[in-house]
């Protein structure tokens, strides 16, 4: 293998590049980037950058000297436009093409627009800096969509003195992601900070009456995987680029980050994860497998969110849970740890303002497949401590995690399952 192309210069692309070099790959690495700004961090865009607390320079993922040491053929402003798997060529937006022996697809996602929408979103650094200028004290800001991005922007805007309205089609914001009790608690916190949270409001157009009083409208209704350029390539596209448990989409073609829908053997399902840590971990895993490591990628997904004085950490695959339980603290105190189960199995945990050492054993328990995994047990090749699994899932043993738990409720004990209240 002499030529590797990385399509995308975000966190996943950077992790892939660095891993290739760390693993000793000395051939040509070409990195394609639709944006002219490359290798910067996105989570701060809706937090410190929007709030004006950090300069753009602060979110560069690597110093210029570090990037130079990677010796990459970087093409800023040139995106991947097409793929010919038979000839192993990536067609570029500037009309040229580049051959590859190995390809990592890390083209990410783009914000989902309203049909008549040309508003700037908060996905790129330029857009975040533009929004920073728009948010002034007294600005009437309406945010369409109360997902994590919309909610974080609402929190920042409220703190900047904007009059914020947050619109959400569901009855409870984030209920599908974190469950109704936590979603209700988060909505309450926003209301206490002066945000007008309106649920059951579906906006399908910028001309909607619900937006008529707004000075500014920020649309945050999810995202679309950037797979358009792969149409006609023969690769399996759906919601993302479909990959196996090795993050492989086809021989020599791997995917990582927001764009990848891969089979996570730890949970026995395919998933596409738009989390910052997944981008880095999957970029590393894809690069290693491209070089022949042949290790399944079976992480416990993780994300965090900052809203007002709440620090939210979530581990696992919470979507589709059928049971929810507070195992430590209370919703009212805004200091708690909740668990999520599906068909009796622990699949997720969410902590608000809890010390890390209370969270860690639960994460470890999620990373440990149940002993009686039934028919899916064959798909869990590294339930023990193989290096890839332990590196991504946390390397402390179940025994030490258990011993370190100061919580009265133990993740390894069979705890009563409480039905989520309707």
């Amino acid at each position: 293998m002499n030529r590797i192309v990385i399509a995308g210069a975000g966190a996943a692309g950077l992790a892939a590049v660095e891993t290739l070099r760390r693993e000793g790959f000395t051939g040509t690495i070409t990195v394609l980037s639709e944006e002219t700004e490359v290798f910067y961090d996105r989570p701060p865009l809706s937090k410190q950058i929007l709030a004006g607390e950090w300069d753009a320079d602060r979110i560069r993922l690597r110093a210029p000297a570090q990037l130079a040491a990677l010796d990459i053929d970087l093409r800023p402003g040139v995106r991947a436009a097409g793929l010919d798997t038979a000839r192993r060529l990536v067609t570029l937006s500037d009309g040229t093409d580049v051959p590859y022996d190995g390809l990592v697809v890390a083209t990410g996602v783009r914000p989902r627009p309203l049909p008549d929408d040309s508003q700037p979103f908060i996905r790129t650094i330029d857009q975040a800096l533009e929004w920073r200028k728009r948010l002034r004290p007294g600005t009437a800001l309406t945010i369409v969509g109360a997902g994590f991005l919309g909610a974080e922007c609402a929190a920042v805007a409220a703190r900047l003195g904007c009059a914020v309205t947050l619109l959400e089609p569901a009855a409870v914001p984030l209920a599908h992601a974190v469950g109704e009790p936590v979603g209700r608690m988060l909505a309450d916190v926003h209301r206490e900070h002066g945000v007008d949270v309106r649920t059951g409001v579906t906006v399908t157009s910028l001309a909607d009456d619900a937006l008529s009083t707004a000075d500014e409208v920020l649309v945050a209704i999810g995202s679309i995987a950037n797979t358009d350029w792969l149409a006609g390539s023969g690769l399996d596209l759906g919601d993302g680029l479909l990959c196996d448990e090795y993050c492989a989409a086809a021989p020599g073609i791997y995917a990582a980050g927001d764009v990848a829908r891969w089979h996570n053997p730890l949970f026995g399902v395919t998933m596409r994860i738009e989390h910052r840590t997944n981008a880095a971990e999957q970029g590393m895993a894809a690069a290693r497998n491209l070089l022949g490591a042949a290790k399944p990628f079976a992480p416990v997904p993780y994300f965090w969110s900052d809203q007002y004085d709440l620090k939210i950490h979530a581990y696992g695959h919470l979507r589709g849970h059928d049971h929810f339980e507070i195992v430590e603290g209370t919703l009212e105190s805004r200091r708690f740890l909740a668990t999520y189960r599906r068909a009796g199995r622990l699949v997720g945990a969410l902590a608000v303002n809890m010390p890390p050492k209370a969270i860690r054993p639960w994460r470890q328990a999620i990373a440990t497949p149940p002993p009686s995994a039934g028919s899916s047990s064959a798909a869990l090749p590294f339930a023990g401590s193989s290096s890839a699994a332990s590196a991504f899932a946390g390397s402390s043993s179940a025994a030490s995690a258990f011993a370190g738990s100061s919580s009265a409720a133990s993740p390894f004990a069979v705890s009563p399952v409480v039905e989520e209240s309707p």
Partner: protein, 65 residues
């Protein structure tokens, strides 16, 4: 190898403490990372590089000396 830790950037994810527990820990109250050894021995270098790579806040910078 020297570790430069940008503490205000830390989001308390704890990835570093899990990947390289001999070099990184977390504060008990808020989970912000603590560097236990700013000049880790060679036996820790691989784990530390992994920790820097998975840090979701890009708060860990390594200076290879």
């Amino acid at each position: 190898m020297r570790i430069e830790f940008d503490e205000p950037k830390c989001v308390a994810a704890g990835q570093c403490a899990m990947v390289a527990p001999d070099v990184f820990d977390q504060r008990e109250d808020d989970g912000v990372a603590v560097v236990l050894d700013e000049n880790p021995g060679a036996d820790q270098h691989e784990a530390v590089r992994e920790a820097a790579a998975v840090c979701p806040a890009a708060a860990i910078r390594l200076v290879e000396e």
